[in-house]
C-alpha cells in the first residue's frame, strides 16, 4: 500500500470493478431484487404479472437483443406454453409441475416448428414471417375448440395447493403464489445467465455482430439461429405455463398479435440486449397500463406514444440508458 493520493483513474477503476462484479453476479442480484419486489409493490397480483411478463420479455430478448432477430410472433410461443400447461391439467389431470414442464417443452416445440421456416429468412423478412406464422397458430388453436375452448378460452385450471416434497403451499394466497412463480423465474434467470456466459452465448453475439465473420470462423449460423429461437421458445413457454397457473384460465388473446407486439414494446422500453432490461420494461409497461387505465380506457394511446418517443429518443431503453450512465 503506497501513500500516494488516489488518482481519479483509481477511483474510476474501483467503480468499474464494482460494475464488473455486478455484471458477473447479475443473476444473483436480479434474484435478490425479485425476492424483495413484492415488499415495494402494493398489488401482489400485478407483481406476479410483472414476473411472468418479465420472463416472457427475457425469452424474447434472448432472440432480439442478443441474436438480433426481431420476431413479431412470440405470442405463439407464450400462448402454446400456456395452452399445453392448461391442457395437461384440465384434460389429462396431470400434477402442476409436470404441466409446467409440458408447457415449457410446448413453447420450445412450437419454436422449433416456426423456427425451421423462419430462420431461412433474415432481417425484415423474419419479422413478417414470424408474425404471419403466429397468426396461423392463433387460428389453429381457435378452431381446436374441443381442446382449447376456442373463443371462450381454456377454463378450469384450478391449482389450489402447491405440493413440494410433502410441504404444502397455499397457491391461492397472493404472496405465496408470487414466490412460487418467482422460484421458476429465478431458475430461468440462472439458466439464461449461464447460456449467455457459455461459448454458445459468445457465438450468439458473434452472429449478431457480424454474420459473415461468424460463418467464416466456422460457426453454423442457421443452426445457431434455430437453437436460440428454440431456447427463446422454452423461456416463453415457461412464462406462458406460469401465466396459465396464475390466471387459472388461458384466454385466446394470449395468442393474439397484440401479445406479440406487447413483448416487443417491453423489451425495447427496458433496453434490448441487457440482462435485466426486459423486467424493467415489463414493469414499466404493466404499471403504465394499470395506472393509465384508472383514468381512461384508452391506455394504448399513452403506451403507444411512450413507445414511439422511446424509439425516437431513447433507443437504448430505460435500463440500457441507466447502465450506460453508470458505465461512463
Amino acid at each position: 500500500m503506497s501513500d500516494v493520493p488516489q488518482t481519479i483513474a483509481d477511483a474510476s477503476d474501483r467503480s468499474n470493478s464494482l460494475f464488473d462484479m455486478a455484471v458477473r453476479h447479475r443473476a444473483i442480484l436480479a434474484s435478490v431484487f425479485l425476492l424483495m419486489f413484492p415488499l415495494i409493490m402494493p398489488f401482489k397480483a400485478l407483481a406476479a404479472n410483472i414476473l411472468i411478463y418479465g420472463l416472457y420479455a427475457l425469452g424474447f430478448n434472448l432472440l432480439f437483443g442478443f441474436l438480433g432477430l426481431l420476431s413479431f410472433g412470440h405470442a405463439a410461443l407464450f400462448g402454446t406454453g400456456a395452452y399445453f400447461c392448461g391442457i395437461a391439467i384440465v384434460h389429462f389431470g396431470l400434477p402442476w409441475y409436470v404441466a409446467i414442464l409440458i408447457g415449457t417443452l410446448g413453447g420450445a416445440g412450437m419454436a422449433a416448428i416456426i423456427g425451421v421456416l423462419a430462420v431461412r429468412t433474415r432481417g425484415i423478412y423474419f419479422a413478417m414471417v414470424t408474425m404471419a406464422l403466429a397468426q396461423c397458430v392463433y387460428y389453429l388453436f381457435y378452431q381446436a375448440e374441443g381442446w382449447t375452448g376456442g373463443e371462450n378460452g381454456l377454463r378450469g385450471i384450478n391449482v389450489r395447493v402447491i405440493d413440494i416434497f410433502g410441504l404444502k403451499f397455499d397457491f391461492l394466497d397472493p404472496l405465496t403464489r408470487y414466490y412460487v412463480i418467482a422460484a421458476f423465474v429465478i431458475l430461468a434467470l440462472f439458466v439464461l445467465s449461464r447460456i449467455l456466459a457459455s461459448p454458445f452465448g459468445a457465438v450468439i453475439e458473434a452472429v449478431r455482430e457480424n454474420e459473415a465473420r461468424a460463418r467464416a470462423s466456422g460457426y453454423n449460423v442457421m443452426l445457431t439461429r434455430l437453437l436460440t429461437f428454440i431456447l427463446s421458445g422454452a423461456f416463453c413457454g415457461l412464462a406462458g405455463a406460469l401465466a396459465a397457473l396464475h390466471l387459472s384460465i388461458v384466454p385466446i388473446e394470449m395468442l393474439h398479435y397484440e401479445t406479440s407486439g406487447m413483448v416487443v414494446m417491453m423489451a425495447l422500453l427496458g433496453g434490448m440486449g441487457t440482462f435485466f432490461g426486459p423486467f424493467v420494461g415489463a414493469a414499466v409497461f404493466m404499471l403504465l397500463e394499470n395506472l393509465v387505465s384508472l383514468w381512461t380506457v384508452h391506455w394504448q394511446l399513452i403506451v403507444g406514444a411512450v413507445f414511439v418517443a422511446c424509439v425516437l429518443f431513447f433507443p437504448a431503453g430505460i435500463w440500457g440508458t441507466i447502465l450506460r450512465r453508470i458505465h461512463k
Binding site: L70, L117, V264
Partner: protein
C-alpha cells in the same frame, strides 16, 4: 359433391380475385415503400383502417361513395406525408428495425385515436346504390360491387405503372430505389422522393380500406388482420417487387376463396400454409431478388 357445379367454382374464383384485388392494393403500397425506403410499414394496416373510417366520415357528412373514393386517398396520403416527414425521417441510417418499431407503435396510436373518435364497435358500410345487385358474367351471376373493386384496382395499377415508367418523376423514383447515393450525387433531393413514395403508398392503402369497407364493414381492428395477410402476399410474391405483389395478391385471394368453398374451417390457415411452402421451396418469393432478403 352435387352442389359443386363448375359455375359455382368459377364464381368463387372471381370472388377470390376481387378479394385478391384488395390484397394487391394493400401490398403494393407496402412493397413500394419497402422497395424505395427499406422501411417495413407496420402501420400500413392502420392507414388502411383510417381510410375506411375517413370514407365512413364522408358518408356521415352527407357525401357519397364517389366523393369518398377521391377524398380518402388524399387525406390518408397527407397523414402519410406528415408521418414520414416528422417520425420516420429522423430514423434513417439507424438500422432497419427502428422504422419498423416506430410504425408499429404508431399503429397503436392510430387505432386508439379512431376508437376515441368513432367508438370501439364496428359500423356497417353500405354498398353504393349504383353498384348493388349482381350481373351475369356468362358463367353465373356475380355481385356488381366485386367487379367494380377488380376494375378499380386495375385502374390504380395502370396509373401507378404509367407514373413509375413513363414520367420523369417515376424515373427518379426507380433510380432512387436502385441506388439512392448516386441519385443524390446527381443533384436530386432524395428525401423528397421518399416523402412522396410514402405518401403515395399510404394513400393507396387508404383507398384499399374504403374499397374493402362495403365487403367487410368497418372496425378499428380491421388493419391488423390484413397486415398479417399482406405479409403473406409480400413473402410469396417477393418483397419490393410490384409484379410479384400483383400475382401473389390475386393468388392469395383465390386460395382463401377456394378453401372457404371446399374446407371453410381451413380458409384462414390455408394462406399461411401457402407461405410455408413458398418459404421452403423458394425463400425469396416468386419475383424477389435473392439479395433483398438480407
Amino acid at each position: 359433391m352435387a352442389g359443386l357445379s363448375l359455375d359455382l367454382i368459377a364464381v368463387q374464383l372471381f370472388a377470390g380475385l376481387a378479394l385478391g384485388a384488395i390484397y394487391v392494393l394493400f401490398a403494393i403500397g407496402l412493397s413500394l415503400i419497402f422497395g424505395m425506403l427499406t422501411v417495413v410499414n407496420f402501420a400500413h394496416g392502420a392507414f388502411f383502417m383510417v381510410g375506411a373510417y375517413v370514407g365512413l366520415f364522408v358518408l356521415m357528412m352527407g357525401g357519397n361513395f364517389w366523393l369518398a373514393l377521391v377524398v380518402v386517398p388524399l387525406v390518408v396520403g397527407v397523414i402519410g406525408l406528415i408521418v414520414e416527414r416528422f417520425l420516420v425521417r429522423p430514423l434513417y441510417g439507424r438500422g432497419i428495425d427502428y422504422p419498423l418499431l416506430l410504425t408499429f407503435g404508431l399503429s397503436y396510436i392510430m387505432v386508439e385515436l379512431i376508437r376515441i373518435a368513432f367508438g370501439t364497435t364496428g359500423y356497417p358500410f353500405d354498398t353504393p346504390e349504383l353498384l348493388q345487385g349482381a350481373v351475369d358474367i356468362g358463367i353465373g351471376y356475380f355481385p356488381l360491387y366485386r367487379l367494380f373493386v377488380l376494375g378499380a384496382a386495375a385502374v390504380v395499377l395502370l396509373v401507378l405503372w404509367l407514373f413509375l415508367e413513363k414520367t420523369s418523376y417515376g424515373l427518379i423514383i426507380r433510380a432512387g430505389a436502385r441506388d439512392p447515393q448516386i441519385v443524390r450525387v446527381l443533384g436530386v433531393d432524395v428525401s423528397r422522393v421518399w416523402l412522396v413514395v410514402f405518401g403515395v403508398g399510404t394513400g393507396i392503402a387508404g383507398l384499399a380500406g374504403v374499397l374493402a369497407a362495403p365487403l367487410q364493414g368497418v372496425i378499428p381492428e380491421m388493419g391488423s388482420t390484413i397486415l398479417a395477410e399482406a405479409f403473406v402476399v409480400t413473402v410469396v410474391g417477393g418483397m419490393g417487387s410490384i409484379g410479384g405483389a400483383v400475382i401473389a395478391g390475386l393468388l392469395v385471394g383465390v386460395v382463401v376463396s377456394m378453401t372457404s368453398l371446399f374446407a371453410p374451417e381451413m380458409a384462414k390457415v390455408s394462406i399461411f400454409a401457402l407461405m410455408a411452402i413458398v418459404l421452403l421451396v423458394r425463400p425469396q418469393g416468386f419475383f424477389g431478388r435473392a439479395g433483398l432478403m438480407s
